[in-house]
Symmetry: none
Subunit: 203 residues, 4 copies
DNA sequence: CATGAATGAGACTTCATTCAT
DNA sequence: AATGAATGAAGTCTCATTCAT
């Protein structure tokens, strides 16, 4: 169940993340928000007529659902791949997972931005599904930190809080990092691995 | 020039943060977003008719601006007070500032949530003003970390990145912390001071 | 039943035509039309609060009625006075009536403008009354022209049409004449007497 | 660049002057004025829903602009055609132009009525354009009367005033002439040619 | 009469969505 | 899938008017 746009190599962000129509919708939602975006704007942005858009997606909500699901699936797939690559060592697992989180939120900040700010615009079961996906994702890091703590490899007295802090920190990258700055996503990820290590090592 | 709702003691959150009408608007914006909220909903929420609301605020946008400005002013006023209390010692300055950030984002998470997610809904000069206020706020922490780093009291090689990570972490509290959980805001703040110290001490 | 603002001398336009409040309303109606004017605008223009305005006039409609009635009463009173001054000679009667019409529409163009363009905004019996007043006014000139025609002093074969043409011409002054132009109202009136004579003399 | 609704023969008023939707708007504006007309009324009048109307015209103002522009364009086109037909003789030019003015204001009195009474409701550049069109139209008659006066064919000492009086007179037809009266537009036009001749011949 | 607050009704306009072609 | 036309519902905002103080 690999999402469209997730390549086998979790460090590869060269492929477009979304089918073009969802990409257009994503751009609009980022700029004006879900409720602030008219479906006509999305259609124009995608080079389609309005009925043409409805030919592909049955509703505006479906666009948002498509984006949210794809974003969570891509993040989870990449995270899982990173953990597989890390093997059993808990510090490696922590480092690669942080690297993965930063890379995804730097390269795909728009997805993350929408996934974070427009959950409230998801209707019905889609919202529940999204929250479940988010919890499942959070659990990946929680488990690593908990294990590192149990093994005495991480010094923190508050593994749960530290884990949440790390997540928040990496997720927050989507709110300020933009391509073209002084650091590449890879450089930023390297620094964040350092910084986050401090977080779980602090007593 | 103390902002309305900001008491002399920066640790005191017992006073209501906003005039009741802005409070009602804040609730609605948090639940449905700015564009997803009908002004009628706000009016009903505030126990007013629609023109009654317009008697106090000239537009929906004015409600958002009022909230955003009040949020930033309150945060800045409390942060400044915390730094004054801390005196000259850079570690104390860092600790109290982090404590302040966490307290504000735990107690006033709705303000922070809106201030972060609805910047794009601010129109014209209000947006510029908001961004300026955010930068001014960020600079408070940047300066402390830079000074700590210069003095050799903080070990981090990336003071700028660490500072942003700390900000993101504390700001992120608004996205998940809710009253009624296992930790009080004060307890959470204490833990975050620890965790954040790790961030700036990591090499 | 002389209207307020109509002095004994029909050539005298030095007195204000309307009580100040109606004057303010008139200004607004001229600029934006009846339906285009908010009653708050009138109040501000008059230096009153909104309830203050309602203390004097019970409704917006009452303002319009007051203006329309005063305008028609003033015009009729001046016309009657002019005819009295002219005595029995039909050419004198024609000349003085034309002079009077031009003077009124040049000096009080705002009244005439509103009386002509906002009849449709008069509700109920006020509209009927206004139309009756207009017909009564028109009859003054019709009678003069008819008599001149009957006596063979006017050459026109179409006295009714000529009379209407003269009325239209003089009424039309309100649409273009403004104080400050090259001609004073009195000079303009003199010319119009000439021109109108041509109208009723043409065969 | 003939305006829609202006046929090659300037005496022909059998074609509808406006597209049906503008026609409906014109009816409503005539009855209640621009500001007094709800766009819902126009839509109903045209057999459309409100958004259906907006599909064709982007705003209420656009309806007014469309009417005003069409009215002025039609009048100018017919006037120009009448002058072409008249050739060089200045009295013929005067006669045909007056005939044209009367016919237009008798047949299309609604257009003229709105064009005269709702200029103040035109916003921004549309108002300037309308006034320019009106001046251009006025100049047609001004030039004829000035030439006739220069050539000694018209006796009037005040050609400018006489020209304005004629214009006002003919324009005023729109305020009182209605189909179904004792005179056809053509008969009325014939009489007005006589009457107006008197205007420019009077000394 | 000023102030301040309030409101039912209704204004213009936009939106997501649909249907026939 | 594009085009053009259409619409029910709902959006923001304004208006004339009123009442308590």
């Amino acid at each position: 169940m690999t999402a469209a746009g997730t390549p086998p190599n979790w460090r590869d962000f060269s492929v477009p993340a979304l089918p073009p129509l969802l990409g257009a919708a994503l751009d609009c939602f980022v700029e004006h928000g879900y409720h602030g975006t008219a479906i006509r704007t999305v259609a124009t942005h995608a080079g389609l007529s309005v009925p043409g858009l409805y030919h592909h997606y049955p509703s505006k909500q479906a666009l948002l659902v498509g984006i949210a699901e794809s974003a969570m699936a891509d993040l989870y797939a990449r995270s899982s791949a990173a953990l597989r690559e890390a093997g059993e060592d808990v510090e490696a697992r922590f480092a690669l997972l942080v690297e993965c989180l930063v890379l995804v939120h730097a390269y795909r900040w728009e997805h993350a931005f929408i996934a974070a700010s427009e959950i409230r615009s998801l209707e019905g079961p889609a919202r529940a599904g999204h929250i479940a996906a988010r919890d499942r994702q959070q659990k990946l890091l929680d488990d690593v930190v908990a294990e590192g703590s149990r093994l005495g490899r991480f010094a923190t007295r508050y593994p749960k809080d530290a884990s949440r802090a790390v997540t928040t920190m990496c997720t927050g990258v989507a709110q300020w990092y933009r391509a073209g700055g002084p650091l590449s996503p890879e450089e930023l990820a390297a620094r964040y691995v350092q910084i986050c290590r401090g977080t779980v090592q602090a007593r």
